[in-house]
């Protein structure tokens, strides 16, 4: 789980609101994020929009540790934000995540 230090922790959702190997959209303060639950039951978070054409990644498909954009097949490793090839060229920003009391918290600067 991506739990480095953060200036503030924002409650995002119930931990079991996201299926294993799936993603959920979370909007906060005018910004959209994507929160992932991996097949091995770890949680991660990235910016919510694809760096290619501003499509919501939460509508895409999670396969292992890859999120695939629903519009153009752009693929990222959601653990690191790394873009995995065309048509995406720019990495996703990632955010720390922690679990507390059955809830997922997103760490923001």
């Amino acid at each position: 789980m991506n739990t480095t230090t953060a200036a503030r922790w924002i409650e995002a959702c119930e931990a079991d609101a996201i299926d294993e190997e799936d993603v959920m959209r979370f909007d906060h303060d005018g910004h959209t994020y994507a929160i992932y639950r991996s097949p091995d039951d770890e949680y991660f978070a990235t910016d919510g929009l694809c760096t290619h054409e501003q499509i919501h990644l939460a509508d895409g498909l999670v396969m292992d540790h890859i999120i695939e954009c629903p519009k153009h097949n752009g693929r990222f490793d959601y653990r690191t934000g790394q873009a995995k090839g065309a048509p995406v060229c720019v990495n996703l920003k990632t955010y720390p995540v922690k679990l507390d009391g059955g809830k997922v918290f997103l760490g923001l600067a």
């Binding site: 498909l61 396969m63 695939e68 519009k71 097949n73 065309a86 060229c89």
Partner: protein
């Protein structure tokens, strides 16, 4: 429906490009039929099995028909074998490059890439160029000035369409592009959708394609026969018929500049043989609305959303009964288009109702 129009500018660097961007038609939010996340996730699941079987069958049919053509070469018996080989090569490759470009045919990435490269060569579509142009086509489907893959700009070029039944006009254009790319250049339009980092690939693949064609030509001269070209190169032309027959049903004659795929795309029911050749792209509304759903799941997706879509066309005959007179009328009346009837139109498109920005006043 017809409307008073001015001549559209279909280039990607012209007047209508600017207008599309100014009024919010570029990279816009599109209508999406309601479907649960759970159901869509199930439909989006990847699998290698269906495409492995499909590809094995395709290659086996190519091999057997090619073998027959080779065996009977010099007699009329070769004609039906090369007809089948040509259709599988020149038309079957169309749906295969397309599905593999989306990365949805196979679950395994490299399998998509291998079939993509082979099919692109067969249909003479440069892989890097078409990957990016198709990306734009999905972002801005039939948005004038933005979509590089509008098959029938208005007024329609009927002669060009007829020539493309044997890929004559399209192959001529493709060869010209190959020469440009092999010399290390892109057109101004291509620069708008192919990023810098991808351009080197375009140039090297163009050189490779030209080298292969030169090799086949030399081979033909050396043995004094066109037989090698009957297997590599010429089938792109003599087998292209179904590219047009199927491809025109996708968007031709329908509305432009609408942010709803139900208004600018057709779903046409087809028989299993056609659906094999076309990899279910007859479910074209569904494909555009949810492009990450693999071809083999499109019939299920169709069943899931059809209540929120216009009535599908019951076969190619019904589709062409609409397309042919529409295109002929558009030659004289470029503003004319077929307006698809949406179920519950009053609430079907709650936003992005579509902007006919060249229209003065729609009229029947």
């Amino acid at each position: 429906m017809t409307s008073e129009t001015i001549q559209r500018d279909y280039s990607l660097v012209g007047r209508d490009t600017k207008r599309a961007e100014e009024i919010g038609l570029a990279a816009a939010q599109w209508y999406s039929c309601p479907i649960s996340r759970k159901e869509l996730k199930e439909l989006m699941k990847r699998s290698d099995g269906p495409a492995l079987r499909n590809t094995a069958l395709w290659f086996a049919a190519l091999f057997l028909s090619g073998l027959g053509g080779f065996y009977f070469w010099g007699s009329w018996w070769a004609v039906p074998f090369f007809a089948v080989y040509g259709i599988l090569y020149g038309s079957g490759s169309d749906s295969r490059w397309h599905e593999c470009s989306h990365g949805t045919a196979f679950k395994t990435r490299w399998m998509n890439d291998v079939v993509y490269q082979i099919a692109c060569f067969m249909i003479l579509r440069e892989p890097t160029v078409w990957r990016w142009s198709h990306t734009r086509h999905h972002t801005d489907t039939t948005i004038v000035g933005r979509d590089p893959e509008i098959a029938v700009p208005r007024p329609p070029d009927i002669l060009g369409i007829l020539l493309n039944l044997f890929a004559i006009k399209s192959s001529y254009a493709a060869m010209k592009k190959l020469i440009i790319h092999a010399s290390g250049r892109l057109t101004e339009e291509e620069k708008t959708y192919i990023p810098e980092m991808e351009r080197g690939k375009v140039f090297w693949i163009a050189r490779l394609y030209l080298a292969i064609f030169a090799g086949v030509a030399i081979w033909c001269f050396a043995i004094g026969s066109i037989l090698p070209a009957m297997f590599i190169g010429l089938p792109t032309l003599y087998g292209a018929f179904f590219v047009i027959l199927f491809g025109l049903t996708q968007h031709a004659g329908l509305d432009e500049d609408v942010l709803d795929h139900r208004l600018n795309s057709r779903t046409v029911y087809m028989n299993p043989l056609y659906r094999f050749l076309y990899m279910n792209m007859n479910y074209h509304v569904e494909h555009h609305m949810f492009p990450m759903v693999p071809y083999h799941a499109l019939p299920k997706l169709h069943a899931a959303i059809k209540a929120d879509c216009p009535t599908p066309y019951n076969g190619l005959r019904e589709a062409y009964a609409e397309i042919i007179p529409t295109l002929l009328r558009q030659v004289r009346e470029p503003g004319y288009f077929v307006k698809r009837q949406l179920p519950n139109p009053e609430k079907a498109v709650p936003y992005n109702h579509g902007t006919q920005f060249v229209s003065a006043a729609p009229a029947e």
